[in-house]
Point group: C2
Chain length 339, copies 2
């Protein structure tokens, strides 16, 4: 039985969609127990609307909510009775295996580090974002935690990311690429030039060299390594370019009677194809390297994304990812601390 | 009369499309003189195919060609009779005002710095890429020259970019944004945090603060400032995401009889809308801060892009951009070297 804490108060559609997602997850699999953390009355009201195996879903009350715009360090320190702090303490105290939230990324990040805590030897836990590609899905990390990461951190990201993609997503020998401005080894900024030989020397990962940003949407690597500034730019460009192109497409479709008629004809096929270009089925963004799994799902997550993120935690636990991460840090002569 | 050197041997479609573009430019405007640099026989052959005002277009022979994959520093040093070196020397010696090439970016960059030379006071000349947005066009710089730029460099990029957008593209009081991971002032990596207050203190530019990558395609700023590693990632993500989405769209359109019929109906409208999302009408990427204008057009440029890049040089000269750049460096107490 895998025990998962879900932040019932986080995200644009909390608590309704979050509770629905939790109920959906326990209905889909019978090896899951969910603890919904949030305002008892609000969560109970949502839960009463659903029919579900009540013995595997319970509420833990938390009176406060951390808002997205609050400075995260301060929020974690002062809002002791917030759903994020209360929920993460359950993981810290061993009462649960994982924590899922659609709330403030900053608070989830700070709480993960301060409350749940790092695995001994992990220097900086990175956010790993699952991004859709032409070939399926890739893991981009660090996508949000460490904007000024050092080479040794990037090496650990590569190891943890490889373990995640192999054992949670099921890609054997995942290709690891470092984001760079060209394919040649001599290219790059100071960070990349210093990190490149360290990654090349790791024989426990399948390092395939530099990856230019252009190749990311084409699925040029399974694990994409960078510091979080670049990671954020990649993630946000994905969203921005896609949204502008879809707007332009709509504008084109609505511009004449002829194109409007065409739009009616193409819509079903188009929706189906575009659905294949969506990574949310794989769950949320895992914060790797903590003594318990912390998953951040998109702020706009609906029930299905929440449910998928919960299922993702089960695989993480079953595959003993944290034990594998610990083992990777112990490989003699290959410590990422060697820098 | 503006004299523009065109590298007849650079790019995927050289010399044919390059020569055609040059001929088109001199036909469009009668204040342009073009010097085509390249292999006399090859260029002459192409030129003979066109009818054009022969008195304003001439050939300067250069026996060598720098290939895209050659290490640029070495190529510029050893290939003294290459079209890039010969052409840039014409600008250096005052025989021409500008140089346009669709050839090796690296060689254009190195040649620009080593042969044409920097304006006194300019620390690092940046590549400025014109990118399409929902609202029109933005200038992204540095898009390729300085991967480990410092805060003072970024301040100069902001000043030069503002001058370019105002006087070449015609946007009054261009909004300057620095690429960041969030809109709040305390966010960012070390470089951004250090640069932010310097930009805020510049009262000769219209600094609007941080811009998240998501807002770039929406036209959130007119001048987008970052070091060239981030700039390259932004540019390449643009290309990559757009190309994958267009592929997915085509796949959807071709997936059934119904959608194929729809595709026929929407195509004309779609092509028209997508054409509005294209920055090539504004010319190529200017390398700013040199003692003559150097413009790099895309390697895949056809005649129209070459022609637009040549016209862009005329505006640059007419608007006395370099004089304006020099003046901006002299504003007392606001030197970008103050760091």
């Amino acid at each position: 039985m895998v025990k998962i804490v879900v932040d019932a108060m986080g995200g644009d559609h909390a608590p309704g969609e979050i509770v629905k997602g939790a109920v959906d997850a326990v209905s889909r699999r019978d090896d899951i127990e969910v603890i919904l953390v949030g305002r008892q009355d609000a969560v109970e009201k949502e839960l009463d609307k659903c029919s579900c195996p009540k013995d595997r879903i319970r509420i833990v009350h938390a009176s406060e909510v951390i808002e997205t715009e609050e400075p995260p360090v301060n929020a974690i320190r002062t809002k002791k009775d917030s759903s994020i702090v209360v929920g993460m303490n359950l993981v810290k105290n061993g009462e649960a295996d994982a924590f899922v939230s659609a709330g403030s990324s900053g608070a989830v990040l700070v709480g993960g580090q301060v409350i749940v805590g790092r695995i001994k030897g992990v220097e900086r836990p990175p956010f790993g974002a699952l991004i859709p590609t032409e070939k399926g899905v890739s893991l981009l990390l660090d996508s949000g935690a460490n904007v000024d990461a050092r080479p040794s951190h990037l090496v650990q990201f590569a190891r943890m990311g490889s373990i995640y993609m192999e054992h949670v997503i099921g890609i054997s020998r995942p290709r690891v690429g470092i984001v760079n401005v060209g394919a040649e080894e001599e290219k790059g900024n100071a960070l990349v030039k210093e990190t490149f030989p360290l990654l090349k020397a790791c024989d426990d990962i399948h390092f395939t060299g530099s990856i230019e940003a252009r190749e990311i949407p084409h699925g040029g690597a399974d694990v994409i390594i960078c510091e979080a500034f670049t990671g954020n730019v990649i993630l946000k460009m994905y969203e921005g370019v896609a949204s502008v192109l879809v707007d332009k497409l709509k504008e084109g479709l609505m511009s004449s009677m002829r194109s409007k008629l065409g739009a009616l004809l193409i819509m079903p096929a188009l929706k189906k194809t575009m659905k294949s270009f969506d990574a949310s089925q794989y769950g949320g963004a895992p914060l790797l390297g903590l003594r318990g799994l912390v998953v951040k799902t998109h702020g706009s997550s609906k029930a299905i994304e929440v449910s998928n993120s919960i299922i993702q935690c089960v695989t993480f636990k079953e595959q003993e990812i944290n034990e594998k991460i610990k083992a990777s840090l112990l490989v003699p002569g290959k410590s990422a601390n060697q820098e």
